[in-house]
């Protein structure tokens, strides 16, 4: 009782080849940059695009198997889908939008409307039952789109960038709301997003896709602590370094050495949090065992701090307060010393 997918499809010039599984009640987020092939994967699951190869199975039923000539058309799949810009039917009222799937699947007008009204009420939008979608705010439209997708009691819920059409303020509320509804939903959910915060907040499992390939799979905590590609590291705000471990020392590809908290051996990734990096004008004395010279390659505001990109043998990102930045005179090309405590450095097998 689950979704298992192996999808091979050409998306323009990009060959997409991804594999994943989702258990009932579980939310899987497909995370990746724009143009990575994420939405194509979702369209295959919905039956709106044909895979060239692979297999999609849901609860033991084969939805797609090109080799065997099997392809269930979208309207026969037990799915619900929320589109990026909602795509609520502009000519139907809110409640009729939600009732549409029930009617399409054979419910009578009365019973479909009754169930739909229940869903609209559940989304706290009963006041807007008879209004047209154009009068709804972005957040309200998103909730109706979710209600429309869930009303048909699908076994697979597909969410395509469900929060990207919303402004930052609404996004927080809708994300919390969506999380709550996903927790109640018994079927499998596949969520596509380029926003790591959405992925971390909503998903039980992450599949990171870059250039049509899966580059990392794991829980949000696992992926954010132990990124395996620069893209993921940047997303979660970590500096990612690759090297060979020998005990508590890791020799990076650039030749520099990083002292780490735990001993290991063989190829490893080293992840360093920007907040753990200290910057100095002259070489610091004392406890930090990792001290490297670096030059400032960029300074950008990041919340209440400044994020400083550093070039050198050990490329790093550091977070400093605006006061410290002024004191250190962090202009582009300035030379500084960067230090990190060994206890703040995580190494894990590559």
């Amino acid at each position: 009782m689950s979704l298992s997918a192996h999808i091979v499809i050409q998306r323009g010039a990009l060959p997409v080849d991804v594999t994943f599984e989702v258990q009932p009640g579980e939310v899987l987020a497909v995370l990746g940059p724009n143009g990575a092939g994420k939405s194509t994967v979702l369209r295959v699951l919905a039956g709106l695009a044909r895979p060239h190869f692979g297999q999609v199975r849901l609860d033991g039923t084969t939805l797609d198997d090109p080799a065997a000539g099997i392809r269930l058309p979208p309207h026969r799949r037990p799915i619900g889908m929320v589109f990026q810009d909602h795509l609520l039917f502009p000519h139907l009222s809110t409640v009729d939008n939600v009732a549409f799937g029930l009617r399409a699947r054979g419910a009578s007008r009365e019973s479909a409307r009754a169930v739909a009204a229940g869903w609209v009420a559940r989304m706290n939008l009963s006041d807007h039952s008879s209004s047209k979608p154009r009068s709804l705010s972005g957040g309200q439209a998103q909730r109706i789109a979710l209600a429309r997708a869930l009303a048909g009691d699908p076994r697979l819920l597909l969410l395509d960038e469900p929060l990207s059409a919303l402004d930052a303020r609404t996004k927080l509320d809708v994300r919390a709301d969506l999380r709550h509804h996903l927790a109640d939903y018994a079927g499998a959910t596949v969520l596509v997003t380029h926003d790591p915060v959405d992925a971390m907040a909503l998903a039980d499992q992450l599949v990171v896709v870059e250039r049509g390939r899966v580059v990392q799979v794991g829980t949000p905590v696992d992926v954010s602590r132990r990124p395996r590609t620069d893209y993921v590291a940047r997303l979660v705000g970590l500096s990612l370094l690759a090297g060979m471990a020998q005990g508590r020392s890791v020799v990076l590809d650039s030749g520099a050495t990083v002292q780490v908290a735990e001993a290991s051996s063989g190829p490893v990734f080293v992840a360093i949090r920007p907040a753990a990096v200290g910057l100095y004008r002259s070489r610091p004395d004392g406890s930090p065992r990792n001290v490297w010279p670096a030059t400032v390659a960029g300074v950008t505001p990041y919340g209440e701090t400044l994020r400083v990109d550093l070039d050198g043998q050990v490329p790093l990102t550091a977070d400093v307060t605006p006061e410290a930045a002024a004191e250190l005179d962090l202009v582009l090309g300035a030379g500084v010393w960067a230090s990190v405590k060994a206890s703040e450095v995580a190494a894990y097998p590559a």
Binding site: A46, G47, H75, L87, F89, H91, A104
Partner: protein, 270 residues
Amino acid sequence: MARRHKAQVDGATGVPAALLIPAALAVVFLVLPLIALLVRAPWSTLGSLLSTPEVRDALRLSIVSASLATLISLVLGVPLAWVLARSQIRGRGVLRALVTVPLVLPPVVGGVALLLAFGRTGVLGAPLYDATGVSFPFTTTAVVLAQTFVAMPFLVISVEGALRAADRRYEDAAATLGAGRAMTFRRVTLPLVAPGVAAGAVLCWARALGEFGATITFAGNFPGTTRTMTLQVYLALETDPDAAIALSLVLLAVSILTLGLLRDRWLVRQ
């Protein structure tokens, strides 16, 4: 960009003199005949001129036949527009060209072509007559066929354009909600293109109402059965010019009403 253009044109109107004069001539040329019609109209006897049995017959025939032609065009033309806009069939470009031929064909030629197809000795008309004794030419049916032939392309082109402009992702959304193609067409596609269908139907009806050449060729000119308003106007001009002007006024009023119905689509578009 806008500033540079403005520098080349004259003062408040924003129209260069070289364009203003021919443009004004064109307006005069297009509007003057209509003004003449209004000026020369026999306003005092208008009521009696339009209440003769011949005029009432012609008016009723025109409205009924144009409406039937529009109905046939809707029933056949909307699916054809869908095929042209959405299907993957081969030779779609050729099909579209063939369908739009009646738009540019002289209506008289259309009438001759209809006679050769549906006439008593026509390629389809002859076997039909032999089998059933039914013959189209010089009947009200022929009027409707002639009007449908010239007017349907207007509807097809209008609806096809609306279908091409419609956001197909709504149809994807309908499919993920369990709607098959027929239901998606009926409950999503058709409502989304309804303004285009309505505009096409109005245009089609106006064209059918104004039909003359194909009708007189294929259907003839028999009072009560095939003599439509336009034929009546032409005939009256020889015998009773005032009646012709009165009838023309009616058709002008209908044309202006048509434009009013299409206002939102065509007149205010910038």
